[in-house]
Amino acid sequence: MSSIPSTTELVSLGAPVALGDGTRIRIRQGHSSDRGLLLRGFERLSPQSRYRRFLVPIPELSEGTVRYLTEVDHHDHEAIIAVDEETGEGVGVARYVRDLKRPDTAEVAVTVIDDWQGRGVGTLLVEVLSARAREEGITTFTALMLANNSDMMDMLSRLGPVRIVDQEAGTVEIEMSIPKIGLAPALKKLLRIAARDDVVVPPGGRQRAGRIAPQR
């Protein structure tokens, strides 16, 4: 089996994943029908998390923004979402949008609902997103984030070496090569569980998501 999963394989990832605390989520691609999921998820996002995502305060999402974020073409723009298995509500989303001037490069953004932060959801989403990006010919991720957003920085650093390109106005811009390997262990296991068992994701922290261990 190739270390890079195909879209078909990813779609099959709608199987449950158990997080370290026993809660279960499903990971899948986002679609235009996820509009309600996005809006309800946004309502549950704290002002701080909204600010981290958009770098400005966002009291509500405009119609245009909702369309932009849900109507993804899965080529230049991909969204991978995590859904709480119990409630069916969205708990996180990672997306890339290709830089049209540098087609091998895309900007990445990750959001996880506050209650679900620090439990490994973001790391899982980024790993799956990386695989999708590679599949679509994207080799470099860029990200603009608040300079004090250590969660995002840690999450990306776990994926591979991160280079700081610019720092200004309280933000930091980074660039990184999307590793060809490295996300494989986690994904392989994810794919395996699609057919068999659940997996346990260690809670956030410093551990690499690659150390996912089968649940006893």
């Binding site: 995502r53 400005v56 305060p57 290709r98 900007e107 004090n148 106005a169 309280g170 930091v172």
Partner: protein, 626 residues
């Protein structure tokens, strides 16, 4: 262990000080030369000891006359306030707020509260009722000192939502729901001086002394927990670094900065620790320079905004002068500059330069020094970056203006330029109570006994700020081979105006975006005297506004339309009413389109590129300061 962070405070100690393990760092040298200091370990003990001093503690102007309060009177008053607070049932460690402009009563209320073993949580006198409510509720203040009727009125508006608040104590204008200072003192008659001393004695160096509120990235301000050790170590560090403690005559410090800000408050503490005199302004910003000239202080600290104002006042009109006068002015500055450089290099000026300097001094320098009353020995600028030309101008005129860098989280100063060790363009060397190094991402890290104990009721923010004993300052910088620190940028996305106020743009931006007509708001004001914003009209709402005004629904045309501006102004006014004066938007511009990815203001994932907006619309922002 208690759940109350205040009680827990007493059981923890501040970060241990020792040699750093990695990176460029400056170790903490030996302490020396604090002859004039009370040498106290807590603020309460410092005040009580100061009661035995001769001389004048506070000087202020009332009804046109300058009046003085001796150290004995000052400390007597502080004890009276402390007895009153004990009498009305305020327990050690409980919080007491002060809501007032800078005036002697502030200092007395502060000293009194600290002598009662309480924790002082100051509120900016310019704060809106909502903002006052936040501090009172968050700190669970049991009492608040209010300056006058207008401040009491603010508290009355929110009092029912502040369950812990039991006493409103008025400096003046006490009404039905408040106690006057005199009444408080009267109630304290039954309390003995020994009880006050016992309260002071029970406070340890690691007990909490104050909660100082400072801006966070989003949402409400964060409360820095500052211990008695933080304050005393900081005071001693400044006294030592600036050589204030070995002075022949007690220093006379002009005070106008808000005492709710750590910079003003530490100035107050240093002066009183050394037996100096605090001279208060008359609280009229238009009279600031006149106040200083009359007060003739020997020391003065201020924020860049004020130095820039004085610089502009001193240099304005020069451009319109005849060529000869203009030439004379710039020659004088050049002579002053050369002389100072020689002096700093340890060389004598030489006969020619000395003669030139005498002339230049009489023609120009002395006049500038006279703006400060003619007795100024040293001045400090801090809280925001200052322009090099402003520093060099005062320096050439013989005013020792030292740039200091610091933050609330270190109880005031961190690095200082001093008369002996000064490098323009840097913020000086770390003070003796601080060890500094540069982190892997270029962030300045600091540790030492002046570093705060964390944010009150905010463990997450505390964890982010204090990592393995080091305070992440949020500023990017470098430390040169001689140990001078240069600030190169900021990690935190806050605005620091030239008045030194840290402002979270997100709060007012959020409020603006919640109004009907505004879709995007980018607030600007770093190193500027006030806040401005670039606004965009909400494309979904614009047609309705056009209909209401009877104009075509064409956004670019609407952005230029005075009637649209007037409507937007109404929205801005309503938002401003919820913020303190300094956080309000003074002017704004309306962009004739939405911000987009194509124009570069948004990233592909729709993040707003603030730095790009600031650069792209630099001219627009500049025009809002004309």
């Amino acid at each position: 262990m208690s759940n109350d962070p205040i009680n827990r405070m007493a059981m923890t100690t501040t970060a241990a000080v020792g040699p750093s393990s990695a990176g460029v760092h400056t170790p903490i040298p030996e302490r020396s030369g604090l002859e004039l200091s009370t040498g106290a370990e807590t603020l309460g003990a410092m005040f009580l000891r100061a009661g035995g001093r001769d001389g004048s503690a506070l000087r202020y102007k009332e009804n046109g006359d300058w009046r003085e309060i001796s150290y004995r009177e000052f400390v007597r008053s502080a004890r009276d306030v402390a007895r009153g607070l004990i009498a009305v049932g305020i327990e050690p460690g409980q919080r007491v707020s002060i809501l007032s402009d800078t005036r002697p009563e502030w200092t007395i209320a502060d000293a009194g509260s600290l002598c009662a073993g309480t924790v002082v949580a100051p509120i900016y006198h310019t704060n809106s009722p909502e903002e006052c409510e936040y501090v009172l509720r968050h700190s669970e203040a049991r009492a608040v000192f209010c300056e006058d009727e207008s401040q009491i009125a603010k508290i009355e508006q929110v009092r029912s939502r502040c369950p812990a608040l039991q006493h409103v104590i008025a400096f003046r204008g006490a009404g039905a729901g408040s106690l006057s200072i005199e009444q408080l003192v009267e109630l304290g008659r039954e309390i003995s001086d020994e009880q006050v001393e016992a309260r002071v004695g029970a406070v340890g160096a690691d007990s909490l002394a104050s909660l100082v509120y400072t801006s966070g990235t989003t949402g409400p301000p964060k409360a820095c927990m500052l211990t008695h050790r933080n304050w005393m170590e900081q005071a001693h560090m400044i006294e030592e670094s600036l050589d204030l403690a070995r002075h022949d005559a007690p220093i006379e410090f002009f005070l106008f900065l808000p005492l709710a800000h750590v910079f003003g408050r530490i100035t107050q503490m240093c002066t009183l620790d050394l037996g100096g005199t605090l001279i208060y302004w008359t609280r009229d910003p238009t009279r600031l320079l006149e106040d200083i000239q009359e007060a003739r202080p020997t020391y003065f600290s201020s924020v860049p905004r004020v130095w820039e104002k004085i610089y502009t006042a001193a240099t304005s009109g020069i451009a319109e002068q005849p060529r000869l006068k203009r030439a004379l002015f710039s020659w004088s500055l050049g002579v002053g500059h050369r002389l100072r450089e020689r002096e700093r290099g340890g060389a004598a000026p030489g006969r020619v330069l000395a003669t030139e300097h005498r002339i230049a001094d009489r023609l120009v320098h002395r006049k500038v020094r006279d703006l400060f009353g003619g007795r100024l020995e040293m001045a400090v600028t801090s809280a925001a970056p200052i322009a090099r030309e402003v520093l060099e101008f005062f320096d050439a005129c013989g005013i020792v203006l030292l740039e200091v860098w610091g933050m609330t989280e270190m109880c005031g100063a961190g690095t200082l330029n001093t008369e002996q060790e000064m490098k323009v363009g840097t913020v000086g060397k770390p003070g003796s109570a601080l060890e500094m190094r540069v982190g892997p991402d270029g962030e300045l890290l600091a540790r030492g006994p002046i570093v705060f104990a964390g944010y009150f009721k905010n463990e997450e923010a505390t964890r982010e700020a204090l990592r393995e004993g080091w305070l992440a300052t949020g500023d990017l910088g470098s430390i040169d081979a001689e140990g001078f620190v240069t600030i190169t940028g900021r990690k935190k996305d806050i605005i620091i105006t030239s008045s030194g106020k840290n402002i979270t743009p997100a709060n007012i931006e959020n409020a603006l975006k919640q109004t009907r007509w505004i879709s995007e708001a980018v607030v600007y004001g770093d190193n500027r005297p006030y806040l401005v914003a670039l606004l965009t009209l909400d494309a979904e709402e614009a047609p309705k506004l056009a209909e209401q005004l009877g104009i075509p629904p064409d956004v670019p045309a609407m952005a230029r339309d005075e009637r649209v501006r007037a409507e937007v102004q109404k929205a801005v006014d309503a938002v401003n009413a919820r913020f303190a004066r300094i956080e309000q938007l003074k002017r704004f511009a309306i962009l004739d389109r939405e911000m987009t990815q194509q124009h570069g203001e948004l990233t592909p994932t729709l993040k707003v590129k603030r730095a790009f907006v600031y650069a792209q619309f630099g001219d627009v922002f500049d025009s809002l300061y004309d």
